[in-house]
Every structure is written in structure tokens, then in C-alpha cells.
Symmetry: C2
Subunit: 470 residues, 2 copies
């Protein structure tokens, strides 16, 4: 008995793909992923139509999706993040049906609750055996954690593992066990690991970024949360990484023994683990090859599923124990709502990922962003898209001022602490004014009539609607 089949085509046949079905992909190979395009190419050749593609993220490398949409192979698209190339086409009205955006936690939980049904999941597995035990930690295309793929594997009706490193049964140190897998396909290459490092994953040298990072670190220090047991998530943006560096320096200087770092993991978080700032990392995705190396060799660097990271369908998730998260934004509005789905012109170029999950779960959610970008203000009256509700956002840090969300009487003590720490605390409306003084009052953006995307919150409810760009 072996689950090995000769080709992707064979696997698709065995799994009984039919027109109108939903197939899923995960994005741990990031902009180096070959699997989504490879599978979609075969599916298109086989003549299938009217499919729903649920991909945890769509990167620029997945631009061929545009052709599959135009040809009617793909008529529905669901994801947690969408890069600018496909995003622009979507915003221009490429698809008849709106894209469904979820968060990383929400996607996994919708699968577990049965509100998102996957017919066939395709798992890009850097190493697998012929019964389907698989992992991302080893192999020429190693990507580290494959945490987002757990929900797909556990809940899809059929599961196909695609690997470029088939090993003898049983794979040692598997992540996803054979119990979930129907077929295994060996291919030449599942991706280019160099593409895993996509987007900014280096500390900024820009003085504006360093200023924001300094403020963010000081906000955390002043909040009183930076003590033994401290837990922390940051993204891979240049300024947030700089903030992480400052926080590490504070922790080392003060001898603070933190609890855990979480999220997409970079070399900087690995460095904090190895420096004793954290006792563990909870890793749902590796953002660089240092993280891949670490998760393979350091037992304290643990792979977690998307549900365990940020879901709402489990009894708890890592985000529920999180002290502080540093997050980015393209827009923030006067109610502290945050947009990470579109740029200031309304073009889709992002998505929640774990943004709204961590904001909701953490004790202190800090948005860190420059006051203006390309001569457009960060702070606006109303975001073009609400990606993360303002009620879950605590602080907005810019290079010129820091706004604290005290709506409903919360964070009053925090605001006082920041003032006592001599940080430049201002009202959010003040930030808007400052931005407009620099960049001018922007012309109101008039969106088109067509609904091009719906944004679901982590609990599955509709959070916002994105319209086409005129």
C-alpha cells in the first residue's frame, strides 16, 4: 500500500475533482511557491471550470491566476492576503464574484466550523513519505513551519501532498500525519526557497522608521508589560523589526525573561529566543531561512497550526496569551479602524493575515506606520477598508506623534503612563491634521460600483466590502 500517484493529474482524478468544487493551497513557500501555479495549470489543461480557489495567501508569483480567472477555470477566490499584482486586477473588476478575504485565524476556524468547505487541499510539502506524513522543516525547498496547512489537511475532503523530497516511510519529525492524506505526488521542485524571504525582512535604516521604532519600544516599556513573562509578536516590516531590536536590547539590559514570541518568524525573533529573551517561539510561518534553520534544530522553536496561533474555533489560541503585537497599516481612521487590504487609492495590495487576530487577542495592539506615504496621509476620516476594527487597536505610533485609543474608557491609564514617559501623545485627530499639513488634504477617493471583495472578520461575520477602483 502506497499513496504515491504518478502525477498531479492522476491525483486530481483520484480525488474526484468536479466543476464548481473548492480547492485550497497554503502559502509557506510565499513568493517562491510553484505548487499553486503547477496545479492550476494541470487543472486548466484538464478542462475544469468554475472552481473556487481558497489560498491562504496570493503572492505576485501567482499572477497566472489572472488567466485562469479570465478563462473561467476559477470563478471564486478566497484568501487572507493578496499581493498587488493580482490585487490590482481584482480591483479593476476582473472577477464577477467578489473575493472573500479572511484572517489567518478565521480561515482555519471557518474550515473547522464547516462554514468553509474544501473539496481538495493541495499541500506543498518540502519533505514527505509515500503515506503522506509530511513536514516543511527538511528538504531542498524547506520552508520551516507549515502551520497554515493544518486546517486544510484536517478538514478537506481530499488531501494531496505534493513534494520534491520523497523519503522512506515513516518520515521522522512529521508535522502533518498520514491520517489526513489521500495522495502523494513527487515533483521536480515545489518552489524556490529564496522566494520565502519576500517583502521587507531587514531592519530599516530610514531615520523615520527608526524614530517610529524607538517610540514603539518606549510605548511597550512604559505600558508596564515589558517584564518577566512578556510575550510579543511583530511582523517583518523594517520599522517593526527595528522596534524588536530595541526591545531585545531593553530585555537583555534589564535581564527580563520573556515568555514567547509568535507569528511569522524572522531571524530577529530567533535571535531573541537564542538570547534568552523568550523561552519559546510559536511559529505558524517562517519569514526567512534563519527561521527555517532554527525551527528544524531548536525544540523551543515550535510549529503551531493556524488554529493554535490565532483561531476562534479552538478552546483558546496563542493570540489569547499575547501581551503585545506590533502591526502595520496603510490607513488608520479616527475610530482607530485599520486598513491593510488596500492602498490609499483603493487598490487591493494586502490583507489581514493575522492582523485582526492578534489585535483582538493581545493586551496591547500597536500600529506603527509613517504619518504619510507617497504624499498621502496615514490617518483619514474613514478607512477605505476596515481590516481590523478600531475597538481592538490600542495605540498608533508615527514618527511625529502617538495616539492612544481611549474609546469606551479603556487605555486611560496607558495614556497617562505614556505621557509620564514624555512620549509625544496626541489625539488621533491631531495625527490626521499633522499628516494633512505635510501632505495636504487628499482628494476624496471615489470607488466604483462593483463589489470586488468581501472582508470577513475572524469570527466569520462580514466586516467590510471592497469596491472596484474607478
Amino acid at each position: 500500500m502506497s499513496k504515491l500517484v504518478a502525477s498531479i493529474q492522476e491525483a486530481i482524478k483520484q480525488c474526484g475533482l468536479q466543476d464548481g468544487m473548492t480547492i485550497s493551497f497554503h502559502h509557506h513557500m510565499r513568493n517562491g511557491d510553484y505548487v499553486l501555479n503547477m496545479v492550476m495549470e494541470v487543472i486548466a489543461q484538464m478542462g475544469y471550470k468554475n472552481l473556487t480557489v481558497n489560498a491562504s495567501s496570493v503572492f505576485d508569483v501567482h499572477e497566472p491566476l489572472i488567466g485562469h480567472i479570465k478563462n473561467g477555470v476559477v470563478t471564486n477566490l478566497e484568501c487572507n492576503y493578496m499581493g498587488g499584482k493580482v490585487g490590482k486586477a481584482i480591483s479593476q473588476g476582473l472577477m464577477e464574484n467578489p473575493v472573500i478575504f479572511r484572517s489567518h485565524g478565521g480561515r482555519a476556524s471557518d474550515m473547522e466550523k464547516g462554514t468553509s468547505v474544501i473539496d481538495i487541499a493541495f499541500i506543498a510539502a518540502p519533505t514527505a513519505d509515500d503515506m503522506g506524513n509530511c513536514t516543511g522543516k527538511y528538504g531542498p525547498s524547506a520552508c520551516g513551519s507549515i502551520g497554515y496547512a493544518f486546517a486544510d489537511a484536517m478538514n478537506a475532503k481530499k488531501v494531496v501532498v505534493i513534494t520534491d523530497n520523497l523519503v522512506a516511510y515513516p518520515l521522522v519529525d512529521f508535522s502533518i500525519p498520514e491520517v489526513y492524506v489521500d495522495c502523494v505526488v513527487a515533483v521536480e521542485q515545489i518552489g524556490n526557497p529564496a522566494g520565502i524571504v519576500s517583502g521587507t525582512t531587514k531592519i530599516t535604516r530610514d531615520p523615520v522608521g527608526l524614530k517610529m521604532a524607538d517610540y514603539a519600544a518606549k510605548v511597550i516599556e512604559a505600558s508596564g508589560l515589558l517584564k518577566d513573562g512578556f510575550s510579543f509578536q511583530t511582523g517583518a516590516g523594517g520599522a517593526t523589526l527595528a522596534a524588536a531590536k530595541y526591545i531585545k536590547e531593553m530585555m537583555v539590559a534589564k535581564g527580563i525573561q520573556g515568555s514567547f514570541g509568535m507569528g511569522g518568524i524572522t531571524a530577529y525573533m530567533v535571535d531573541m529566543l537564542e538570547s534568552g529573551c523568550f523561552k519559546a517561539l510559536l511559529d505558524v510561518q517562517c519569514f526567512d531561512l534563519d527561521a527555517v534553520k532554527s525551527i528544524r534544530s531548536n525544540p523551543k522553536h515550535m510549529e503551531v497550526s493556524a488554529t493554535q496561533y490565532a483561531g476562534v474555533s479552538g478552546k483558546s489560541a496563542g493570540v489569547d496569551s499575547l501581551d503585545v503585537v506590533l502591526l502595520g497599516a496603510t490607513q488608520v481612521d479616527l475610530d482607530f479602524n485599520v486598513n491593510v487590504h488596500t492602498d490609499s487609492n483603493g487598490y487591493i495590495m494586502g490583507g489581514s493575515g493575522g492582523h485582526c487576530d492578534t489585535a483582538a487577542g493581545s493586551k496591547l495592539a500597536i500600529i506603527i506606520a509613517p504619518l504619510t506615504r507617497a504624499r498621502l496621509p496615514l490617518v483619514v476620516e474613514h478607512c477605505l477598508c476596515v481590516s481590523t476594527p478600531g475597538k481592538t487597536v490600542d495605540v498608533v505610533v508615527t514618527q511625529r506623534g502617538i495616539a492612544v485609543n481611549t474609546a469606551g474608557g479603556k487605555n486611560v491609564e496607558l495614556k497617562q503612563k505614556l505621557k509620564e514617559a514624555k512620549l509625544p501623545v496626541v489625539e488621533i485627530s491631531e495625527l490626521k491634521k499633522m499628516a494633512e499639513e505635510i501632505a495636504g488634504v487628499p482628494k476624496p477617493v471615489k470607488m466604483g460600483e462593483k463589489v470586488v471583495a468581501k472582508v470577513l472578520y475572524r469570527d466569520g461575520t462580514l466586516l467590510d466590502t471592497i469596491y472596484s477602483v474607478k
Copy 2:
């Protein structure tokens, strides 16, 4: 946020236990387990009645269950194995409702299929954090794998983790993640690790046992399966361990690199792993403290869930890749059906455990047992209980002869190979005759009228019924 509650009583209240509900336990602490008795004592004191207890195994240490049954606290009992103390009482008609016996794979799969519904699962966790991440690998009561508890944790409506080693969040190297856990209770002691080593776990010195072991090893050698990639499961009985020792010697002598060892793991299987006979161990339960030490420190010694070990609800299980399993028996009949539930007098003193799972999955299922026990023949016309169907059994090895099951035309080649290897191949009826020549023809055992247990096969269907002892 913390899931820590002050007491077992508090956890029971929070989980909403009601009369008539089903609660579950797992048996990794084996005869050293304190948790089942501790919880049942609290439940009895709280005045609950009419509960169903689903315990993966019931050991002699769980004798207090008899009192809870007499008092009406427990009115249904489900398990995969039952030691002689509770077994005898059941056979004497203690309970109104029949005990439900399952296999280790069947129990997990019935939970996953929803045919076995657990209201509250109690997990005996040698180490846990306050959000419920837990493991058996560490702590003063370390038991190694907690593989049988996975299905309980993943499928029960409510899950209570009971630990005597509470550590700071997040537990490093967790087995069961927090997503499944509702409450955590810290207690003084969850069990006595010395009790994990219960039953025979040492190589026999008895000449009869050694003879059988020698034959079993030679059967495996002659079968042609003992080559690179060989996989193997054996129990903890003295003769099967001796057979494992012989097999190891053959593998080392011939330089055979096996694939995996599986099942309840003993020091002997660990030794085979460390000697390079296997590249991995798949461990659903540790049978001794050497195994506990190994699973903690050797990444090749992997914990697997009961579903991954032996279930039928997953897309595959370890047993499906298994070459050879060595199993015991109290009775074998002329159709090669095997009884491991009752003794020759009909008293319950065992259960399938993984017996029928591994027999069904493996390429070669060998029963190894002495021709007579306490002057009663091993081979009988009809087993008092069919624990494992004869169609899944290939060979019966005794100290006097070896019978091959060729029903339906299978194993004809194997039989020939064993003859060529000059092994004492006889018909199963011949074994019966030989046993009767030694022990005399036993008086037919007349069972009582009352149904005291139903034996479900791994797929959930009724396999046999056990009647009371007169």
C-alpha cells in the same frame, strides 16, 4: 486569561457534567494511574448517577470502579482492555448493561466518526501549562507518549487536563495543544510511574517461551519479510520480547536496516532503534521507563495518536504499513479466531487493545502462545470470545508446532517456505490434538445467560458477545 481551576470538582462543574453523560480516561499511567479513581471519587461525592465511563483501559488499580458501579454512579463501562479484578466482577454479572469493548484503533475512530460521543474527557498529563498544552514526556509522573488521549482531546465536548507538573506558558514540546482544552487542574500526584511497568516486560527465561520465541523469529526469517525496510510490532510478553531479541540479532548479523517499530514501546524496541535496526519508532504508549526516557530525547522515537497508530477513520494508519506483528492469545480456535478477552474459563481478564488492529493491518500476524496453560489447551474448537477474526491471523506458533492459516488460499507460499526452513509446520487441528494429549480434552465451558460484554470490531461492528460465568 487562564484555564486553571481550583479543583477537580470545580472543573466538573464548569464543564457541566450531568447525570447520564459519558466521561473518558486514557491509560498511559497504566497500573500506576491515580486520575480515574480521583475523578470518580469526586463525581461520586458530588452525587452524580448513571454515567458512562469510557476508559481506554481498566487496570486492577481501578478496582474502586466496582463500588461506583454498585452505587449506580457508573451504569455503563466502555474500554479496550480490562484487568482481571474488574473483569471478574463484570463476568460475575456486576453490571446491568454490558461492557462495550473496542480496539485501540476502533475506540479513537468511533470518536472521530461520532459513533462514540464523549461529554467530558479527563487527560492525565504529566506536564501541562495553564492553557492546557500538555505532554507525557516530562515531569515527575512522566509516562512518555499520551497517544490514546489525542482522540479524547480532539473529539470530546469538554476536556479537562489534570497535571502534577504545571509549567509556565507555553509548554515547550507539547503533545496535545491548548486548542482542545477547557480546564486545567493541578493536583499533588497523577500517578505512580513505577506502575507504568505492569505486566511482563522482561524477556522470558522459561525454556518453553524461548522455544516459541525461536520459532517465531525463524518464521519471520523464512517469510522473506526480514529485509531492508522491515517493520515490526511486538507486545510486552516475555516470549514475544525474546523473539524480538532474536530478530534483532538476525538484523544486526545480516546488516538489515529496518523501517519502523511500533505499538506499546519497551526498552527492547528502544534498543533496536538505537542499534540501527529501525529508523524510527511509532509510539502510542510507553511500556517502561526506558521507553519514556527515549521518547523524550530521541527525535526518531515519535509519539503517534491512536488514530495514526491503528485507526480506521483516517486515510491510513501505521498498522497499514506494518510487516509483522507478534501477538498473544488465551485461546485460538480451528478457524484461527483468537480470544484475548477472557481466560479459558470465560472470565474477562484482557481485551483487544491493538490486537485486532495490528492483525488486520500487518502483512504477517503471528500468534505466539504455549500449547497449554494451567492444564488447559490453547487451541479449542470455538473460542469463548472472538477478539480477533481468524481471517486476519496468519500463523500460530507454539513450542510444539506451527500452524499456518491457509483458508481462502492465502499463505500457501508462506507455509511452503516454513516447511523448507524445516520448521515444525502442522495443521491447527493437529495443535489442538497435541494440546489435548497433554492436558486432556477440557470440559466444555458452560457460560451463563447474561450478556456481560459486547466486543466491537475496529470498524464499529459487533464482533462477539461475552456472557456471564455461571
